[in-house]
Amino acid sequence: MRENWQSRKGFIFAAAGAAIGLGNLWRFPFQAYKNGGGAFLLPYLVALVTCAIPLMIMEYAYGRKIRGGSVKAFQQLGKKFEVVGWVQVMVPIVVMMYYCAIIGVSLVFMVLSLGHAFGMMNWLGDPGPVMGMVVGGAENALDLGAGMSLYILGAIVFVWLSNWLIVKKGIAGGIEKMSMIFTPMLLVMMIIFMINAVRLNGSAIGLEALFKPDFSKIMDPTIWVSAYAQVFFSTTLAVGVMIAYGSYLNDKADINNSAIITVLANSSFDLIAGILVFSTLGYLVQNMGVEFTSFGTGAGVAFIAFPIAISTMSSNVVIQGLLGFLFFFCLFIAGISSSISMLESFATAALDKFSISREKLITTISVVGFAGSACFASYAGFNFILDIVDSYVGNIIIAGLGLVEVILISYLYGTAKLREEANQYSDFKIGIWWDYLLKYFTPLLLGAVVITNIINIFTGMFSQDSVGVISNIIFGWGTVAIMIIASLIFNKKEWSEAPRLASQEGN
């Protein structure tokens, strides 16, 4: 008997928790900063309405209709498309491997913050040496002998253990229960951090940089592509998570409004993160004379800029340490609530096809996943390979899968049937405009994102030295090749029980 979410609140918290992740904290703020500031909000809002919400409704509705994860979902469209489902659920497993290493660093910094609070070490004011101690250093991605961070490796064990403990308990007993605690806790803590950041001296400089509109850029197509890419990646679409979560909805559950709440909760978090990050950076710009991009535009903001800012908020080391602990605890929760959804995406797909117990399957994936994550605990892995794998799997493959998914489901299954499914018990109904968006508008925009990403990958690759090119081929294209080969192997295996085709249902 297939499990269901026990409550609508539980489902929404789980889905929002899946969408809200570490990327929200640094991706959205710097995308907006680089792409016209406040003017970026216009394409961003348009992308929410025309891409994220329609796709979320589609994934929930199709998941519930099929009562299965991505593999079953694509298999129902035609046997030859099953492999697309396997590639789709391979993405979260690969992403999890490096994502767990970043969550691991948050965990290490959480512990080190407690060390700061209890006077064992004083590092928040100058996090550079501690960052160096935790993530080490390597010359390039091929410098595999540079060493391994035992801090990250130890933390990864804990992260995978947490994932395993939560997901093996299933939907209602594991994911829903934890999301009911984690997601609201994260939201409340981030709002408190945001309010505190806005009160800092110099926050107005940061908010000015983030929100001052440069409308001359609004006609630049790259801004629109960036906005669509931001919205698409941020909402965890096209990686099988939302199809899997939708498949556990009960027959009379609302779909349309739940999809809107999930997307807007994630975007609300984007804006909270934007205000928090740029208020804090504005404070550092005013008081330390640094630039907005002095700490990079990625994880460096969280792991270097924030500890410095926290250390200047109070002269009391106990308060500094506890603030640091709470901040990195927020990162840890944001990471775990996303990583459990990634694990569930593959688990749902595999449980549909193979007759295997959930516990055995989750244990197997966790062991393999941990082995993969351990590679990113190496100095070369964390400092170089992680970025390469992320740009190939996290960008090109996901956008490509989104394009394939929307075309196959819209044209082969049919948007009219899916709209009927979505409208049946929803708080409000969606009209035929939704069909047009899915059939014509979204594929066009996603196609532009895919083409832009491919051009960027190739131009970026050929502008590098030979080590860079070789690293891209081995770790970028190599990972993509392994994912496709693994998908073909799983695809070849027989179904334990032949699934009924959607077209046969009701006969």
Partner: protein, 38 residues
């Protein structure tokens, strides 16, 4: 902060946060109505 930055911040946050709160209120109202029916 310049007035244009303040306007963009208010409009952006207002639409996203306001939209999220409105959607949650609609969901709660419908749940209440359904509970009363049952």
């Amino acid at each position: 902060m310049s007035s244009s930055a303040i306007i963009m911040m208010v409009v952006g946050c207002g639409l996203v946060w306001g939209g999220a709160i409105t959607a949650i209120i609609i969901a709660l109202k419908v749940e209440k109505k359904n509970a009363a029916k049952a």
